[in-house]
């Protein structure tokens, strides 16, 4: 019944003349002063920490500890970057993060989209219950599944590989993905698939070749969201990596300790900068795709 209710998120935007009303709106309210103030404030709040992070990555430890937060470095320690790279093994950690994130992300998207399709487009008894079962996963605190999972992975001989991370990320990422994809699929009319089948295509084929392009933007959005969750995870990575060579970047950042047990802040922030800049590039790339799709709104039912 409710499955036929209006779409919650229109993945396939309806026909639109871009920009008319918004342009009119702007003309009617030309550059109100408070908008400028808000944007200015926003820029300070967002850009200054970015700058702080970068400057800190060039400071010596005594600058970090003894000088005020906003001071410039007294000597510009570019060597922090090479130290982060060599003694901090940032390259290795980034590689591990990629090796754990990429397969998990792929699995989440493929499995999640298929399940979302089955839950929203396909007609069968009990799918309401199934959706709720998936939704329950959002409510489980991940701290409580750690011990059982550790036991299983260990007994299955998976400790010492990146598989525990990949599997755990996939499992914990699925509830949200399934839920979101099911919602996005509401915008896609079911009749489309019935028509396609009359043309001789199987439903699995229709799922792949008709529905996927229609929810492409949704997939990218969900992918983006999941990417940052997985990339920024610390708890799961910390629990399941018991080998230096398997550390992810977030775990690696906890290990910037110098010869005498003191945190090495300069190289730590250099490593953080490398990490942030790398992910920012990925974000920009994905974001451009997402937004191009959204504003193009080209796919029609």
């Amino acid at each position: 019944m409710a499955l036929d209710s209006p779409p919650m998120m229109k993945a396939s935007g309806s026909a639109r003349r871009p920009g008319t009303t918004r342009a009119l709106w702007r003309r009617r309210h030309p550059g109100r002063i408070w908008v400028k103030v808000v944007i200015g404030l926003l820029l300070v709040v967002e850009v200054y920490p970015l700058l702080w992070m970068f400057l800190t990555s060039l400071k010596s430890n005594s600058d970090y500890l003894n000088k005020s937060t906003w001071s410039l470095p007294t000597s510009w320690e570019w060597g922090n970057y090479s130290e982060a790279w060599t003694t901090g093994h940032i390259g290795l950690y980034v590689r591990n993060s990629l090796l754990a994130t990429a397969p998990a992300l792929l699995l989440i998207i493929v499995l999640g989209t298929a399940a979302g399709f089955a839950l929203q487009i396909m007609v069968w008894k009990g799918r309401g219950l199934m959706l709720i079962i998936f939704l329950a996963g959002i409510m489980v605190p991940s701290q409580m599944i750690l011990l059982p999972l550790f036991t299983v992975y260990f007994r299955a001989g998976l400790s010492g590989t990146l598989w525990p991370l990949i599997l755990t990320y996939t499992g914990t990422g699925l509830p949200l993905t399934v839920f979101m994809m099911a919602t996005y699929y509401r915008a896609v009319p079911r009749e489309l698939f019935e028509a396609a089948t009359i043309d001789g295509a199987g439903i699995l084929r229709s799922f792949w070749s008709i529905s996927i392009p229609m929810v492409r933007n949704a997939i990218l959005t969900v992918g983006l969201v999941q990417f940052f969750f997985i990339w920024n995870d610390l708890l799961i990575a910390l629990t399941f990596t018991n080998n230096q060579d398997l550390r992810t970047i977030q775990v690696g950042l906890l290990n910037f300790t110098g010869d005498f047990g003191a945190t090495q802040y300069g190289p730590l922030f250099a490593a953080i900068c490398i990490n942030v800049i790398g992910t920012l590039v990925i974000y920009l790339f994905l974001n451009q795709k997402v937004m191009k799709g959204l504003t193009g709104g080209a796919v029609k039912g």
């Binding site: 005594s62 260990f154 001989g157 629990t239």
Partner: protein, 463 residues
């Protein structure tokens, strides 16, 4: 109802599984029998699959012959790691060839979790830091996970390589057993900046009242009297126990552990009140609760604070000119001052062996024995020579002390007759945590001394 049954079924099977004391088939059977009742979830079938994998899998759990001399330690401790690395390439090269050293580190805050997980799988490393509190170490020992080193070292013929003082410290802390190798041997006291003391005409205080009046002089001259990490908490609770073992005698904390006294007794609360007063007068500086260990250390080593309660492991930092801008020659060490009419004596020092470094009971084979033998014979001199770190092993190759303060501390250790316990030494892990996280509130005044002692006592009695 349904949930309870389901959870019960899985619990039973999980329990069997973890203990490995019954046939895995029993588990599958019991689950299958209930399967009819587990409706609505496809999980039942998968549960069986998981448990089969979990119980019957190719786990390497209880294998007793280690492939490596694996060593799990906290990130923050770099001294032992470095020392063992030196030995692996030097005196213990042969041992390293048969059983290569492999170090893994975790942040100290997640050490306990890691140990719990590994212990559950019987997968503890060959050598590991056994928890943040002696209580956890003791628990691991009692369940047979940690080797009894007294027997092992005697069998290897190297028991005499451990300093007697270190042995008595270990036994005092770990239920009368030798559970730990003394990679460090520390005494604690107050480090002070000699230069600052001279500039303000102060002499080393030998009583609590003199300490307080010196602090007042420094404070009014604009020098922060103490550096302390409220984030860590223990540098503050150590002052409370310091006052206690000076006023009530060396057994002050043991009496609490034995139930002969309570932290809420007036003479115990008095100690907390004395420390709270230091805080009230602002002697720890501003925002003590958010000062972390590095920052507090840095305040002292850059001359911004005149006194610093710390253990003798600080000598490695003092010896590092990059960190120590005051200069090792300008730093002195004094015992915790006496309390008037107190039962304690000023030559009793609290001592410890650092974070407990233990050896797994199940992996202790002859090759591990060879490593341990080599370590007991050589680590003492290597650590002292390379890193200025004092251990509880005999120093077999004479080493020149790097500076006078190291000499002073070593002499103090040699002359020390009786050790005393720090505040949380015999606490449960919970009481330890409660005490350390509330310490800052005690000195910032957001908790009264009575409240503080009550809170800790409650955590102690509760567990």
């Amino acid at each position: 109802m349904e949930n309870v049954i389901r959870a019960g079924a899985i619990r039973v099977s999980a329990y069997l599984c973890l203990n490995d004391d019954r046939e895995p088939t029993v588990i599958i059977h019991s689950l299958r029998a209930r399967r009819a009742r587990i409706t609505g979830l496809a999980a039942s079938a998968t549960a069986v699959a998981v448990l089969v994998a979990a119980c019957g899998g190719t786990g390497t759990g209880s294998s007793s012959a280690p492939k490596q001399f694996s060593y799990l330690t906290n990130v923050e401790n770099t001294t032992v790691k470095t020392g063992l690395g030196t030995l692996a390439n030097g005196a213990c090269k042969a041992q390293n060839q048969t059983l290569p050293l492999n170090v893994d580190t975790v942040p100290q805050t997640s050490l306990d979790q890691k140990l719990q997980l590994l212990a559950g799988q019987n997968a503890l490393p060959v050598q590991f830091a056994a928890g943040n509190a002696p209580a956890l170490t003791d628990q691991l020992y009692k369940s047979g996970k940690i080797a009894d080193l007294e027997t092992k070292l005697r069998d290897l013929g190297v028991y005499d390589q451990i300093e007697p003082a270190a042995i008595s410290t270990i036994k005092a802390l770990y239920g009368g057993k030798m559970e730990v190798l003394p990679y460090e041997y520390n005494i604690e006291g107050i480090f002070y900046n000699k230069k600052v003391f001279n500039e303000h005409g102060l002499s080393v205080p030998s009583t609590w009242d003199a300490l307080v009046s010196d602090a007042a002089t420094l404070q009014s001259a604009g020098v922060q009297p103490f550096a302390a990490s409220g984030q860590q908490g223990w540098p503050i609770t150590r002052l409370v126990s310091g006052y206690l073992y000076r006023s009530l005698g060396p057994d002050a904390m043991k009496d609490v552990a034995d139930g002969k006294a309570k932290l809420t007794d007036p003479q115990y609360v008095e100690a907390a009140a004395k420390v709270a007063e230091l805080g009230k007068n602002g002697y720890f500086g501003k925002g003590v609760g958010s000062i972390d260990y590095d920052t507090a250390f840095n305040q002292f080593l850059t001359g911004k604070a005149a006194m610093f309660y710390m253990g003798s492991w600080a000598l490695t930092n003092i010896d590092d000119p990059k960190q120590d801008q005051v200069g090792a020659e300008n730093i002195g060490f004094m015992p915790f001052p006496a309390v008037p009419d107190g039962k304690g004596s000023i030559d009793q020092y609290p001592s410890n062996v650092g974070l407990a470094m233990t050896l797994g009971a199940k992996t202790f084979d002859s090759r591990v024995g060879a490593w341990v033998k080599c370590i007991t014979q050589n680590y003492g001199s290597v650590a002292l020579k390379d890193q200025g770190s004092i251990s509880g092993f005999k120093v077999n190759t004479p080493v020149q002390d790097p500076n006078s303060i190291t000499t002073q501390v070593r002499k103090t250790i040699g002359a020390s007759t009786q050790n005393v316990l720090w505040f949380e030494a015999l606490f449960s892990t919970k009481a330890t945590n409660v005490s350390q996280t509330n310490a800052a509130s005690l000195v910032t005044g957001s908790m009264s001394p009575e409240q503080f002692m009550q809170t800790v006592q409650r955590a102690l009695s509760g567990s």
